[in-house]
């Protein structure tokens, strides 16, 4: 089994109602499995906010042990590089820049 310490920041906190929780998953689970587990717990709104067409939405930033999920495999990122794995899920405000 894999221990995951999940930290929520930003807009997603209103959906999950907490800023931190621990989730245990079967060995070999990926980020996709963790997010599916959280969707089961918190409902479709969780997935709508974090995913878009099955991949991480632009302004959803997920970090696994300090690395960007996108840069370490995205949805297939492994969660067993460090025990317990620290997963930070941050939903940024709308990304606005430029004139």
């Amino acid at each position: 089994m894999i221990q995951c310490k999940v930290i929520f920041a930003g807009l997603i906190k209103r959906v999950v109602g907490t800023s931190e929780m621990t989730v245990t998953l079967p060995a070999g689970s990926t980020l996709g499995d963790l997010l599916a587990d959280l969707t089961a717990r918190f409902g479709q709104e969780f997935e709508d906010k974090i995913l878009l067409n099955g991949d991480l939405a632009n302004h959803a930033v997920v970090m696994i042990d300090g690395d960007y999920a996108r840069e370490v495999g995205g949805m297939q990122a492994r969660l067993d590089r460090q025990t317990p794995a620290q997963v930070e899920i941050v939903l940024l405000g709308p990304p606005l820049l430029g004139g």
Binding site: I7, G66, E88, G93, G98
Partner: protein, 857 residues
């Protein structure tokens, strides 16, 4: 601090590298400091993005930092009454008192509803800290303010459509004929102003032809081979007529590009939607030879049909190009001439010249690859974007380039931020490109398709699935949020480096909106119109007093360099300390976050917003100094050996040279761009469904797959005696309202005869009996009446009058900038009608068509 301030009497003579921010291009400059006093600013020869060149604003920045009119200490409002020109009754308090008050208001708002906190800044470099702050408090509301009311609505969405980056620029290295609508890019204006001006002049000297379409003889038009005066808000008709010339009359356009890189060949049914393959759900294309229909990615593109009809499972379908071509038919040159006032012969001639110059079919060898060579391009900016149908006009401009095949190829319009390892865009399931560069993920592209949902943001962003932002709607969210289902009122506005009261639409409407906000904090070097509505005014550091990491960044549109040039990283370091109590507003927000008890979330949000990874990440339970945070951010982004110490010594870092494949990625990414905007159809249906559910009147007619010309509402509604248009244009030596605090720039404006007055066509003035220098009344149909000073010119459309820049100030640190009688210019925005029917419900642009009546005062 890097270069320590000398003790008194110690003779010192140093040049300190830093970055300017008198506009938002962030040029690399060096400041000459003698005995502790900064005496001169210069560029650094050869160093990008400005290659050693600095404009009048950058050169005069010392007059802003040393201005005696600066806010000297934190101040709290004592007069509860708020209004334009109302004295706030400032009382000085200590920083601790101020920040405790600030933090208490943030905590109260978070308890009520975290989304009720709105953070605003137009400071492009420290912007990520504002985004982190709003994320930390749990609010979706962070905005660049009024920018976007006029400028980017018809540009950024189109740039994403064409190049999957938020900005485009023209390839002046190979272009032979540039047709420019409503812009002065390359004439010390616009993005990468200085670098682009160097390239523009070289191109002009090389013989590149320049044609400028604009109601005013602006700085580009005065140097163009041809200036084509046009009636405001009618550029779309001009573009449609040109496309009709190419597609229907001359049959001269880039069919290969359409087949390989657009959805022109995708089959659509009677309802305008793609016909999709049952198995793969991919849009189908028709093969002319066999009459068969195959998924687009399984058919050889060149054999896909642009014309003809096909039947798929008994359903009649035609290539999207057939619909596109048919919709061009009514736009004859004669029709367009009637609408635009441009002679029909001129429209057809320009269409012919541009398509000839495009050399469709030609190729060029660069760095071992063969690229299509299209030596003509169409560019545009705020002139066509500040209108009721900005999205339509913008898309048509993009489509002109598509028909020439001049997209992300030598000579055409190019992306601005695909650099380095993440340059290649991604492809969505239907084959269309969208940003692959995470750093460029700072705007929302229309594809992959976004869902419409109940608004959670004050700017009602959720009702704009095809726009990149919806900033102009801020006032509507503040005043009528509940009508749209917004479950909260705005409790706290944190605003810095941006004067939304003066740069939005009509200030009276904005004043009403600002008064709905519980508590406003303005972090500001000067007391401007927005600060006059604040409850707490905090002295902000000037750019020459503050440390700001990563101002210039090669992936940013202000670094748009041509091939074999490279982007430049630069930063701001403190050169002088003038206002003792001034603090860096980014650092203040972090301080307030910790005081409000959300420090850990702030650190996590900073890691996310600033893309800080690995060992450099801020630990949740620690409080970092601004310098430590800046160093970590810099190293995480540019590399371990390029932290603050490197930048303090060298000031800038030249990035790798831009390879041909980064500059011209079309043939490498092989993705497609939507000529036919099928995704607009469903977006419109979704928006209508939501607005109908709340019985809100919301025009969705512009959500169509093909873009038509519609006149601005102003045109239809204005009574006859309002027979002229007021137009606004920018100046190379003034930007926003900040430069009016600078007496040297104001001096230039006074001596330049075309700033603090109203430009009127000489013949029109004669008809109205107005003589040069006359005081005149300017009245609008909604009852606004302001005084101005007439200045006659040949360089403006006879039906137009010009009120340039951002003047007619009511509150400013520099009292010389305030002039009611028009002697310090007319505030154009004040005459813009700021109502929902004047807004583009697709791109959120505010229509800046203003009908006026002028008469001798």
């Amino acid at each position: 601090m890097a270069v320590a301030l000398p003790m008194a009497g110690v003779t010192e003579d140093v040049w300190i590298p830093t970055a300017c921010d008198m506009c938002y291009n962030g040029c690399t400059v060096q400041v000459h400091r003698v005995d502790g006093v900064a005496v001169k600013i210069e560029g650094i020869p050869g160093v990008g993005p400005n290659y050693g060149k600095t404009c009048a604003k950058g050169l005069s920045a010392l007059m802003n930092v040393y201005s005696p009119n600066r806010v000297q200490a934190p101040m709290v409002r004592t007069n509860p009454q708020k209004g334009v020109g109302v004295d706030p009754g400032w009382k000085e308090i200590s920083w601790d008192e101020a920040l405790d008050l600030f933090a208490s208001k943030i905590k109260a708002a978070m308890d009520k509803d975290p989304r009720s906190i709105l953070t605003h800044t137009f400071d492009r470099y420290t912007y990520s800290v504002a985004k982190a702050f709003s994320t930390a408090v749990g609010s979706p509301n962070v905005t660049m303010g009024s920018a976007g009311i006029f400028c980017g609505n018809g540009t950024h969405p189109v740039a994403f459509t064409l190049t999957a980056s938020n900005e485009i620029h023209d390839d002046l290295k190979y272009c032979n004929h540039l047709l420019m609508f409503g812009a002065s890019a390359g004439f010390v204006g616009g993005h990468n102003a200085m670098g682009y001006s160097v390239e523009m002049q070289d191109a002009r000297q090389r013989g590149m032809k320049l044609t400028v379409v604009d109601p005013v003889l602006n700085y580009a038009a005065s140097h163009a081979d041809e200036w084509i005066p046009i009636r405001p808000g009618t550029d779309a008709a001009f573009a449609l007529a040109m496309m009709r010339e190419w597609v229907i009359v001359q049959d001269h356009y880039d069919k290969t590009f359409l087949k390989r890189h657009t959805n022109a060949t995708y089959l659509v049914g009677a309802d305008g939607r793609y016909i999709r393959d049952k198995a793969t759900n991919k849009p189908l294309v028709g093969i002319a030879a066999t009459g068969a229909a195959l998924p687009f990615d399984q058919a050889p593109s060149d054999e896909a049909a642009l014309e003809g009809t096909f039947t798929v499972d008994g359903v009649q379908a035609t290539p999207a190009f057939v619909v596109f071509k048919k919709h061009l038919e009514p736009y004859t040159a004669e029709y367009a001439s009637k609408v635009t006032s441009v002679p029909a012969a001129t429209i057809t001639r320009v269409a012919h010249e541009v398509v000839e110059a495009a050399s469709i079919g030609q190729t060029i060898q660069l760095e071992g690859d063969t690229y299509p060579l299209r030596t003509a391009a169409i560019s545009w900016y705020r002139g066509i974007s500040a209108h009721r149908h900005a999205m339509a006009s913008g898309m048509l401009m993009g489509q002109l380039n598509m028909l020439l095949g001049a997209v992300d190829v030598p000579g055409g319009v190019l992306n601005s931020s695909s650099m380095g390892p993440t340059w290649r865009p991604n492809l969505d399931p239907d084959g269309f490109i969208y940003p692959g560069n995470p750093l460029a993920g700072h705007m929302k592209p229309a594809l992959p398709r976004r869902k419409v949902s109940a608004p959670e943001t004050l700017e009602l962003q959720e009702l704009f699935p095809t726009s990149v932002y919806a900033r102009a709607m801020l006032w509507l969210g503040l005043l009528e949020g509940d009508k749209f289902g917004l479950p909260y009122k705005c409790e706290v506005l944190v605003t810095s480096r941006g004067n939304i009261m003066q740069t939005s639409g009509d200030p009276d409407t904005m004043a009403k909106a600002m008064k709905t906000i519980g508590f406003i904090v303005s972090l500001n070097p000067f007391e401007d119109e927005t600060a006059a509505f604040a409850d707490l005014l905090l002295p902000d550091q000037h750019s020459l007093e503050r440390l700001t990491p990563l101002v210039g960044n090669p992936n940013n549109f202000t670094n748009a360099a041509s091939v074999d040039e490279s982007g430049t990283w630069n930063f701001q370091q403190p050169v002088v300390k003038v206002v003792e109590k001034a603090r860096n507003w980014g650092e203040v927000l972090i301080d307030v976050a910790f005081r409000a008890g959300i420090g850990p979330d702030m650190n996590t949000a900073l890691n996310a917003a600033c893309h800080i990874t690995g060992e450099y990440q801020l630990k949740r339970d620690q409080k970092y100094t601004w310098e430590d945070f800046s160093d970590r951010w810099t190293k995480s982004t540019v590399g371990a050996d390029h932290g603050l110490d490197y930048f303090r010594k060298n000031g800038y870092l030249k990035d790798e040279a831009r390879l041909a494949k980064y500059a011209y990625p079309l043939i490498h990414h092989g993705g497609r761009v939507p000529l036919y905007l099928e995704h607009f159809l469903d977006a419109g249906v979704a928006v209508k469904a939501y607005t109908d559910s709340r019985d809100i009147e919301w025009d969705v007619s512009d959500y169509s797959a093909v873009m038509d010309f519609q006149p601005c509402l102003t045109e239809k509604q204005a009574p006859a005696q309002f027979d002229m248009w007021l137009v606004n244009q920018k100046l190379p030596f003034m930007a926003g309202t900040y430069s009016a605090e600078n007496p040297l720039l104001m001096d230039l404006a006074k001596r330049n005869s075309k700033v603090f007055n109203i430009g009127i066509n000489r013949a029109t003035a004669a008809r109205k009996g107005i003589v040069d220098g006359d005081e005149i009344w300017i009245e609008t149909p909604i009852g606004k009446k302001v005084k101005g000073i007439a200045r006659l010119t040949e360089g403006i459309h006879p039906e137009c009058a010009s009120a340039p820049g951002m003047f007619g100030r009511t509150t400013a640190g520099n009292k010389d900038a305030i002039g009611k009688d028009g002697s310090r210019g007319v505030h154009f925005n004040n005459l813009v009608q700021f109502t929902l029917d004047r807004m583009d419900t697709v791109s959120a642009a505010l229509d800046s068509c203003v009908k006026i009546k002028i008469s001798k005062a």
